[in-house]
Structures are given as C-alpha cells and as structure tokens.
C-alpha cells in the first residue's frame, strides 16, 4: 500500500506539470477559441529567457517574476500581430497558425540557445528535502509545484466565473461582434488571453526545468502531448478540468509504468499512443470532456 501511495504521489508531481501547461491551452481556447499547439514551445522559449536573465546575474525568483511579465507582454503582442489575421476565419486557419508557431518557437529556442544542455535552475527553487507522511515520502518541491498549480487553477476559475473581466474574455471568444457592441475592446481581450496563457506557460516551463534538470530546448515536447490529453479530458474550457485531467494522467501513467510487469512498456515510446487512446476513450464516452458543458441551441 505504501508503495502504491508513493507511486501516486510521484504521478501527481509529473501530473501537475501537465496540468499547468493544460491550463494555458484552456485559457487560450476559452478566451480566443483557438487551440494553441505552440503552448509547450512558447513555455520552453520563456524558460530560456529566464535562464538568460539568471546568466546575466539576476536572482532566480527575480528572473522568475520578470519572465512571467515578459511572457504576458509577449503573448499579448504575439496575438495582436501574428494571430490577429486568423480571427473570425475557419478553425483550420488557427490550427495551421499555431502549428506554425510551434515550429517557429522550437526552432528559435534551438537556434538562439543551441541544442546544448544547460544547468538550470542555478539552485533548486524549493527545498530538496521531503516530508515523511506515514511511510510515503513527499518531496517539498513536488508539493510546492502542485500547490502553485492549484492556486493558479483557483484564480483562473474565479476570474472566468466571477469577474467582469473574465466574462468579457469569454464573451469576446463567443461573439466578437456582439461583444464590441456592448463596449468590450475585443482586441484587448484576445491579446490578454494569449498573454495570460503565455505567462502560465512560463510557469510550467520553469517548473519543468526545476523538476527535471538540465534545461533542454526540447523539454516540453513530451509534456505537451500529455497536457493536450489533459485539456481534452477536462473538456477544453474548464480550468478545473485541465488540472484534474493533468493529475489523473500523471498518476495513471506512473502506475502503468510501475505495475506493468507483462508488457514492458517503454513509456518514452508509447507516450503518444497512450495519450491519444485516452483522448479517444474520453471523447467516445463523453464528447464534452469530464468538465465541459453541453451547449444547447435552438434552431
């Protein structure tokens, strides 16, 4: 039992990283209606910005905060300049655009910072020790990352659910023309959606680097696949769904790899089929995802 719980805890730790990245995907989808395939590569890119800041003598947490601000502004500008032309166009245009951004940011990270491995963060952002809870070791770092994930989830949920700004963000994605007619600056809202997502992506990237050093320009690729599965499982528009989806995926994958004594699955190889199988199962059983709402429309 202790061993089982230990594996669950380990799963929650990787799951919270998937959840963070999935949160970014959910924000962009909910506030602009675009599925952002570049979410992971943007996160890597911003993590390297943090590395550069630290390399120039900025302290880790200072660089952490600065990077989030840079991501916020960068995401905003990216939407205003690059994503804007596909607004109001068929969904496929947005898909092609974000796949293009995926390639662009992946290429930029590899080009600017070379494909070499760097040690980052300079020191662990959380204490390296662990608590012992009835024989189960819980590392303070994992607990810290999970706590940050949960706090961000609650903040986003409150934002979308209870604030005027959140309502305006949602309205802009649903009906841009009607939104403008009630006085919402839709352009700002779309930009803000991307900015918020990029900022949360930056947190995901920084924590990925902290949880599994060293820093590597391709570090978010495997994470992105699971983050997507998490977002879809959660229903693509629910912050809570994204986090639950991420944690469930983290735990299930970890349990599979621990207790699979027959198939000898190599997780690195079966990652994609596993994630896709999960998406397929959820969509077949519940097309709106676990937390998605069915939209009813009179015709």
């Amino acid at each position: 039992m202790t061993d089982f719980l230990q594996q669950v805890v380990a799963g929650l730790s990787s799951g919270s990283i998937y959840a963070l990245l999935a949160l970014g995907i959910v924000i962009i989808y909910r506030s602009t209606g675009v599925v952002n395939f570049a979410q992971g590569e943007m996160a890597t890119f911003t993590t390297f910005i943090a590395w550069t800041l630290v390399d120039h003598g900025v302290g880790y947490w200072g660089a952490f905060g600065l990077t989030i601000l840079i991501a916020l502004a960068g995401g905003f500008l990216l939407e205003r300049i690059v994503v804007r032309p596909v607004e109001g166009k068929p969904v496929i245009n947005g898909v092609i655009l974000t796949i293009g951004l995926f390639i662009l940011f992946g290429g930029l990270s590899n080009w600017i910072w070379k494909a070499e491995v760097r040690s980052f963060p300079p020191s662990r952002p959380f204490p390296t020790s662990a608590w012992n809870l009835g024989g189960v070791a819980v590392s303070k770092q994992d607990a810290g990352i999970l706590a940050v994930t949960l706090v961000l989830m609650v903040l986003l949920w409150l934002l979308f659910r209870y604030t005027k700004l959140g309502l305006a963000l949602r309205a802009s994605a649903l009906n841009p023309t009607a939104s403008r007619l009630v006085g919402i600056r839709v352009g700002w809202m779309l930009g803000l959606g991307w900015g918020l997502a990029a900022a949360i992506g930056a947190v995901a990237g920084l924590f990925t680097a902290a949880a599994a050093p060293p820093l590597d320009p391709n570090m978010m690729r495997p994470v992105l696949i699971y983050a997507f599965a998490a977002a879809v499982v959660g229903g693509l528009e629910s912050p809570i769904g994204a986090v639950v989806g991420g944690l469930v995926i983290g735990v299930v994958l970890n349990l599979i790899s621990t207790y699979d004594t027959h198939l000898h699955l190599d997780l690195d190889r079966v990652r994609l089929p596993l994630a896709l199988a999960l998406i397929l199962i959820v969509l077949l059983a519940r097309p709106t995802g676990l937390f998605g709402r069915q939209v009813v429309r009179r015709v």
Partner: protein, 235 residues
C-alpha cells in the same frame, strides 16, 4: 436644437457593392423613427454604419459628437445601444451573464439597471440561470433588447425586431418599445420589414431604396402615401 443623431450623406460599401449611397437622416431626442425598405435597400447597413461595424464616409454625429468611423466600442460608450439583426445575444451564456455584459460599460449601477429592465421584462428575473440559447425566439429577442437597455443608452438601434416571430410576440415587443419611449424618453431608430407596425409605432419614418432615402416624413403621412401603401403596406 440639433437632433440627437444625425447622418449626412453617409456612404458604405461591401467590396464592390455600394450598400449606402448617400443616406441622410436624423433622430431627435426622445423620438421613435422607423426605417422601411425592401431587402438590400441598406436598412441594416445604415445601423451598422452608425455603430461603426462597416467603414463609411460622410458624417455621423451623435449628441454633438462626430462618431463617423468610430469603432463599435466607442459608439457604445457614447450612449448608443445596437440590437443587431437576428439574435444579438450570447447563446452559450446564461440570461444573467448576458445582462451583465449589457452593463459592461457601467461602473456600478448594475442593480438599478437590472430592476428597471426587469420591470419591462419580468420573466428575466426568474430565468437568470437559463442558458440564453435555450430561450424561445421571442424571449431571445426580448433578452437582446433588455441587454441593450442595461447600458442605459440614449438611443436604441433595433434591427428587424419582428424577424421570425409570432405576431402576438411582435406586438408585445413593440408595446414595450413604446413604453420605453413614453416613460423613459428613450430615442429609438428601428429598422423593420413589418411596415404597418413600424409606421404605427413611430412618429417619423424614412423609406430606403437601393442605398438612398426615397421618401421621408411623419409616419401618419407615409402610411397614407400611395406608393408606400402599394410597395410596403400591401393594399
């Protein structure tokens, strides 16, 4: 006194199609004005030109301020609420969320607006949590008008409020519009295919034909006009 809204020689085009070819019209303070015309005459485009949803040339003035080519969010801020053609509501959101969006530009004053609007549409209060897309067509149209009223506008632009609705619902909507005008002095510019009803509910009217004003005058006089009767009233 200058009218509340004034359009002077307004032109607009969609690609190579000239939708408005020099439209001039005005709406006075507290006045209900109707715009009649067949399909493609430019009725909807006239409203869209006022709201900044199409690029225009010419002059649009509202309450002494020039709003030609102002973006929709600025026009809304100036005090014009536009209920677009069809269903200008957020179908995926709840009734309450739609009303909250209507009051987006207001700082505070939500509950005051809410009470006033629910006075005209009492059923809104009971159905706040319902998803707007599941309302009946008439209820959706009323919600769209209620949402527009939440911003406490000085001028309401209504685009075909009777479209696709049962006659009894249409009469109810026009009764409420008349109420709003009488009791609150709200100015209304209404575009309508139902010419009988539009002429009966307004004090003045314009008849648009292929992008320009063909006829204008007091609604009672237009209702007697031979060509209006033949073309739009059908007798």
């Amino acid at each position: 006194m200058a009218p509340l809204l004034e359009l002077e020689d307004v032109r607009a085009r969609y690609g190579s199609v000239q939708a408005l070819d020099g439209v001039s019209l005005s709406v006075g303070e507290g006045e209900v004005v109707a715009v009649l015309g067949g399909n493609g005459a430019g009725k909807t485009t006239t409203l869209r030109a006022i709201s900044g949803l199409v690029t225009t040339s010419g002059d649009v003035r509202f309450a002494g301020e020039r709003i030609t080519r102002a973006p929709p969010e600025r026009v809304a801020r100036a005090g014009i609420a536009h209920v677009p053609e069809g269903r200008g509501i957020f179908e995926e959101l709840s009734v309450d969320e739609n009303l909250r969006l209507g009051a987006y530009l207001r700082r505070g004053g939500f509950s005051e607006s809410y009470e006033r609007v629910c006075g005209h549409f009492p059923w809104l209060e009971r159905r706040g949590a319902q998803q707007a897309g599941t309302l009946s067509g008439g209820e959706q149209q009323m919600l769209a008008i209620a949402r527009a009223l939440m911003s406490k506008p000085r001028l309401l632009l209504l685009d075909e409020p009777s479209l696709g609705l049962a006659p009894i619902v249409v009469r109810e909507i026009f009764r409420i519009i008349g109420d709003l005008n009488e009791k609150e002095g709200l100015a209304v510019l209404v575009v309508e295919q139902n010419a009988t009803l539009a002429l009966r509910s307004s004090s003045r009217a314009y008849v648009l034909e292929v992008g320009h004003v063909a006829l204008e005058g007091p609604s009672s006089e237009l209702a007697e006009n031979e060509s209006v009767r033949k073309s739009y009233l059908g007798y």
